[in-house]
């Protein structure tokens, strides 16, 4: 069955979220939101705190409430991206070049420097998989991938999903491990487009493609839910009007 790349990524993220009880989705994250609504359509969980939600928003104190929830340990999974992500899972959302004299300026760090510590797990997600994004060392650490012993930290990275592949995070080695490549991508493609070192198994797996039941849910109730909050994404992915 044909599927869109966004659908493959959403199904993969849904598997990573797994049986989490409470997931928070930050600004401008339509694919992670799609993954969470797919899980809800399948299993009736997790609770989704969607900062972007236009009607029936879960918060009555804005984003501050999201951070307070995370600070208390009430958020199991959060998603973060990165204009640059390095092999130690540091993320840069600020800019390239010698800060503050940035060459390319990105929007900014948002809540990353807090959420990466306080959410129980963070799934790193960036569609572009290139040596420009996946760098040996980020130019600016918006949020560090790990912290020295003795410094309080509840959570950290779980995995890194890109448009080409899925990596797991090995906390003890502070290193990513290539878990699977998406259909049509080879392990060599991943190596050629990744700027940092990582571990890879001898026998490469392929990322599971969306199943027919998953696609039916995605294109039905999930698409409707997403269109209400991410109209532009729903229009591009499923041809839906808001």
């Amino acid at each position: 069955m044909d599927y869109a790349r966004e659908e493959l990524l959403a199904c993969t993220l849904a598997r990573l979220v797994g049986d989490a009880a409470h997931v928070a989705v930050g600004a401008a994250s339509p694919i992670p939101a799609t993954a969470c609504f797919l899980l809800r359509a399948q299993h009736g969980r997790p609770r989704i705190s969607l900062l972007q939600r236009r009607h029936g928003n879960p918060f009555t104190e804005g984003s501050r409430e999201l951070f307070d929830l995370a600070g208390q340990g009430r958020i199991d999974v959060f998603f973060l991206g990165g204009a640059q992500i390095d092999g130690e899972a540091n993320i840069n959302l600020v800019g390239t070049g010698e800060y503050p004299n940035v060459e390319h300026r990105f929007p900014g760090s948002f809540g990353s420097a807090f959420m990466y510590f306080t959410a129980r797990r963070t799934i790193l997600f960036r569609e572009e998989h290139s040596a420009r994004v996946l760098v040996p060392k980020v130019d600016f650490i918006s949020a560090p991938g790990w912290s020295p012993p003795g410094l309080w930290r509840r959570g950290g990275p779980q995995a890194l999903l890109t448009g080409m592949a899925l990596f797991s995070w090995q906390a003890d080695e502070r290193r990513f491990r290539l878990e699977s490549v998406h259909p049509g991508v080879t392990a060599d493609d991943v190596r050629a487009n990744t700027g940092f070192e990582y571990d890879a198994p001898g026998q490469m797996s392929s990322t599971p493609v969306p199943t027919a039941p998953e696609l039916k849910l995605l294109r039905g109730p999930v698409a409707q839910e997403i269109a209400a909050n991410y109209p532009e994404f729903a229009r591009r992915t499923w041809g839906l009007a808001a």
Binding site: A27, H55, G62, S109, F110, F117, L151, R153
Partner: protein, 281 residues
Amino acid sequence: MDALPSNETEVLADAGAIAARIPDGAFVALPPDYSLVAMEVVRALIRREARDLRLLGVPVLGFGADLLIGAGCVAEVETSAVTLGEAGLAPRFTEAAERGTLRVIDATCPMVHSGLQAAEKGVPFLPLRGVIGSDLTRYRADWKVVDNPFAADDALIAAKAIVPEVALFHARWADARGNVWIGRRRELATIAHASKACYVTVEALREGDMLEDELLAPGVLGSVYVSAVARAPRGAWPFGVAGEYGIDDAHILEYARQAKTREGFARYLDAFVLKRAAQPA
């Protein structure tokens, strides 16, 4: 000691009158795009050629800030991000930051909230978890690592109190007493509590006292914090006001497209800001 503000809320004629109260160089706190930006005042600030504003994003900035930056009204932003959401990068912010014509003080969202909460409590700082190890801390003299006084070997990051000169936002109603109904957007109350002055445009002015209505009262910002209000129907446009009108997504996408170039931005300003009134009915 600074003079205490008057306890009476003024009712001003319109958004332009509020823009006139915000002096050049003021440190102005703004909510994010989804949380009631006083867009009509933003447009009035551009028309009055405001200069050297310092914008605080609580905790991020968006379309309103991008307009002000592009129009040359802003010297500095202190914010956790500047974004147009689904419409992508804020083009005038991005160019100004890359050219070095705008000073950017990078933050992370909960540190902004904590700084304002410290100010509303009247304490010098509030501590927070996380953040230590981020490069953000290298550039913030107002963030300091402190020891937990109740436990050994437990470092936290302290956010210095943030006291904006002006809190500026839009709301659905104000009443005759100067109370403002912010509804579920109670984070706006924190901005108002922390700031020296608070200016609010509203969709409508109501008779009576909303604090006497038990259902409205929990969403009310009391007039003690409100310096002045002015009526500005559709004053959040192209953003929405829940229960009144929705967000104009197409307009924001169109802005993002036009404002990619300075020429396109100038045309946008001309059509939708300087020539006034270009809101669809």
